[in-house]
């Protein structure tokens, strides 16, 4: 008896991701928040596949007054909110003031911004410090409808605005996105239905004859992959966008004709080497680690799923420069030479290297164990420990407390992506904390180029700067990159998409880019 199909004929997509932390655009910060934002709201500017941004809610924008502290945005006309009212500059200005006033989520990188309405469809943003790449940062700023928010304000500590409608927005939405929220139980489930009057429309250009827009979305938040495999096989799950499958499960999905994969953006497995704590304070010692690690050994069985070589940027990103070691293979001979040059060459035996990974994450532990075994061949002992996340992330708050090596998975979640992987991770005024656990800011040339990237409005020239800075950073061996971990979206065969591959978390999960083949679903019928 086949497993009875769950809702065989319903036009619905059940999507699994990390638990949604919050559905309020002003406080959304994590991956799944961003992914839901792109469904319920629309940003002013949309990330472009070739990097940089393109028109979306704003049709055009330019700096005013020549010193990049004032930017003018012209809005698209006739854009409807879910309530049916039209989007105006008034809403956008209110949203920016709210975004900055609440001061959480993704407002950090913007600094202090004040908004001024010029006319019904034009708004100015005044920055507290000049920034040439300000428009690129707005891919995570989502306008809300002022009237609806103010109508649902509760007591709060924002003066006359009370709680700025934060409580109401956790279970409702005031956005313009392709889907409208119908219910949200935090940490459990979020329901949404298609917004027919979405301003980009639902044209069938580029889609097959039976591929229709998905009418209903159910975002669920399950972390156990045995359960997810059961759901996937019983048809209870249509699309899984965390990509946490184990190797055998990936094999199983690959063999099953009713299931398929979509590989969209990849995550950069990064192992920082703390340049301020012995023995990794010695550049040659760090280089030795770079060459001692057995890249092929750890990636081997995963190669078929695209876990290839990676660098400071991700290979699928324009402007990617391959960095040492080339070819990406273990080179014990070169590693011994580097070790000999390092100041710890003589007493390798009592040198202690600490490698911390986040407790409970198997793939991070595997990298640690692989390094531990490789370094053991060079006579260096590596201690691998996995403290729980709060302790692990707290350790990286200062150079002294940061272990020699810490491993992280950096998905392209912040905008603009190139800036996130370079300025935010290597500039002194970058994100700090776990994003700069190498604590190396001693090369003035790197800092000069990174500052230049933030002052260069032209995206092509900016790209050239990024290409120039990557080898320079790599020369100091501040990190080694075991492999890139592509996020494989497992899906039912009748779910088709995404239409555009955009290397950034959010747009690729915008269900406006996905379609459902209802005929195929009914045919499968199980």
């Amino acid at each position: 008896m086949r497993i009875p199909r769950l809702g065989a004929t319903d036009n619905v997509a059940v999507i699994n991701g990390y638990p949604v932390i919050t559905a309020d655009p002003a406080t959304a910060s994590d991956w799944y928040d961003t992914e839901t934002m792109y469904n319920l709201y629309s940003p002013l500017v949309y990330p472009a596949p070739e990097g940089g941004v393109r028109a979306h809610l704003a049709t055009s924008w330019e700096p005013v007054g020549g010193d990049f502290t004032r930017w003018r945005f012209v809005l698209r006309q006739g854009v409807k909110f879910h309530s049916g009212n039209e989007l105006t500059a008034e809403d956008v200005a209110f949203s920016m003031t709210r975004f900055i006033a609440m001061g959480r989520g993704n407002s950090g990188p913007l600094g202090k911004v004040t908004a001024a309405v010029v006319d019904r469809y034009t708004v100015d943003f005044v920055l507290d410090k000049p920034s040439a790449i300000f428009p690129d940062l707005l891919v995570l700023f989502f306008p809300v409808e002022k009237a609806v928010v103010l109508a649902n304000v509760k007591a709060g500590n924002y003066g006359e605005f009370g709680d700025y409608g934060e409580d109401w927005l956790t279970t409702h939405d005031a956005g313009t996105g392709p889907y409208r929220m119908t219910g949200h139980i935090p940490g459990q489930r979020l329901d949404a239905v298609r917004f027919v009057d979405y301003f980009e429309g639902w044209s069938n250009a580029g889609w097959g004859p039976d591929e229709v827009p998905i009418e209903q979305l159910v975002f669920i938040m399950e972390t156990d992959y045995t359960t997810l495999m059961t759901l996937l096989k019983s048809g209870g799950l249509d699309l899984e966008i965390n990509g946490g499958w184990t190797l055998p499960q990936l094999g199983e999905i690959k063999k099953d004709s009713t299931l398929a994969f979509s590989s969209v953006w990849a995550q950069n497995v990064t192992v920082w080497m703390n340049s301020k704590v012995p023995p990794t304070d010695d550049e040659h010692f760090r280089k030795a680690i770079l060459y001692a690690f057995d890249y092929e050994g750890i990636v081997g069985p995963w190669m078929q799923f695209g876990n290839g070589e990676t660098g400071i940027l991700l290979p699928n990103m324009p402007g990617y420069v391959a960095i040492d070691p080339q070819p990406r293979k273990q080179n014990l001979e070169r590693a011994r030479q580097e070790l000999a040059l390092s100041k710890y060459a003589k007493d390798l035996k009592n040198v202690k290297v600490s490698f911390h990974f986040c407790g409970g994450l198997g793939f991070e532990e595997e990298v640690g164990l692989q390094l531990q075994a490789d370094m053991a061949q060079l006579g260096v002992t590596v201690e691998v420990t996995g403290p729980p996340w709060p302790q692990y992330s707290a350790e990286c708050s200062s150079p002294e407390t940061t272990p020699n090596m810490t491993i992280f998975l950096f998905g392209p979640q912040s905008a603009p992506t190139h800036d996130y992987y370079t300025y935010a991770m290597f500039a002194p005024k970058g994100l700090g904390w776990i994003f700069e656990a190498h604590w190396f800011f001693d090369d003035p040339e790197i800092i000069r180029i990174l500052d230049a990237t933030r002052a260069e409005p032209d995206s092509a020239k900016r790209l050239a700067l990024y290409e120039q800075v990557q080898p320079l950073i790599a020369s100091h061996a501040l990190a080694f990159y075991p492999y890139q971990k592509p996020t494989l979206f497992a899906r039912q065969a009748y779910i088709v998409g995404p239409q555009e591959t955009i290397v950034f978390i959010g747009p690729s999960e915008n269900m406006h880019m996905w379609r459902i083949n209802m005929k195929a679903k009914e045919a499968m019928g199980r």
Partner: protein, 298 residues
């Protein structure tokens, strides 16, 4: 004087030998109890001499071999290999070391104080003594072992002994509750009344009169807890507090393996079986000891 003390000693020693023999007779009457003892000795032997018995002693230390990871049980690898390519059979043998240690430390530190406090509280039921002890028990019962372990690893160095102490700290209340309910019933028994009438000391009443009668449930709970304690290590490892890699521990191996069920069933089933064997041994011994101490009227 010296002559008699020597004779007394000899008599006492012979008496103890006879008691021991009598105890062994009662214990060995049930073949299962003997089986339990044999298994335990085997497990101890295996744990101690693991480096010599295990086919791949190196796999318990820093070793990775992703090429032949996750292989099914075969001639080379009796229990197959885990996701990092290490031989599960060898790691299970080494894993016994840690599991037995955590069991001994937690039950050792946890049971005795709990039983004593429970006895006192039960015997003096209705007085402020009961109130104080039992309410403190309620406080410690409520603290989840995980939070305590997290806190202790922050305050003290996160080595294994501290974590085990953390678990022992939340384990004693279980026994004080159990013994409390037993003692409050037993204290109305006639042999206790008679002991009180004949002016027996508190110590005698508690430990010679009441405790032996609570012995059976305590022994049952203690041997059953052995399993729970070994497994609690897997909860700790779940959040990175258990045994630090690459050292193997049965609880962690079961937890890790469970994620790869059902395709790679061997990575969780065999360590789980290893735990079953240890628990089987402890429980059979527990049942046997209960026969020795059980009150038998012939």
């Amino acid at each position: 004087m010296r002559e008699s003390t020597k004779a007394d000693l000899l008599a006492a020693w012979r008496q103890r030998r006879r008691n021991l023999a009598h105890g062994w007779y009662k214990y060995s009457r049930n073949p299962l109890s003997v089986l339990g003892l044999v298994i335990l000795v085997l497990v101890l032997f295996v744990a101690i001499f693991a480096p010599y018995i295990a086919p791949y002693p190196g796999h318990a230390k820093a070793y990775t071999n992703f090429r032949d990871a996750s292989q099914a049980p075969s001639a080379q690898h009796f229990f197959g290999t885990d996701r990092i390519g290490r031989d599960i059979f060898s790691r299970t043998l080494f894993g016994y070391r840690f599991s037995l240690m955590i069991g001994a430390v937690v039950l050792g530190l946890g049971v005795a104080p709990g039983v004593i406090l429970g006895l006192i509280a039960g015997y003096r039921r209705g007085t402020w003594v009961e109130v104080v002890i039992m309410r403190v028990t309620d406080v410690f019962l409520a603290v989840p072992p995980l939070v305590l372990a997290l806190a202790i690893t922050a305050m003290l160095t996160p080595n294994l002994i501290n974590q085990m102490m953390a678990i022992a700290l939340v384990w004693w209340p279980w026994y004080s509750r159990l013994v409390f309910s037993l003692a409050s019933s037993l204290r109305n028994e006639y042999f206790v009344k008679e002991a009180e009438l004949t002016g027996a000391s508190q110590f005698h009443i508690l430990f010679r009169e009441i405790l032996p009668n609570c012995f059976a449930p305590i022994m049952t709970k203690m041997t059953l807890d052995m399993g729970l304690v070994i497994l609690i290590e897997s909860t700790l490892s779940f959040v990175g507090l258990g045994v630090q890699p690459p050292k193997p521990a049965l609880g962690t191996m079961v937890a890790e393996g469970a994620k790869r069920l059902p395709a790679e069933w061997w990575s969780t089933i065999f360590p789980a079986l290893a735990i079953v064997i240890v628990i089987l041994a402890f429980n059979l011994i527990g049942d046997g000891l209960r026969d020795v101490f059980a009150v038998e009227d012939v």
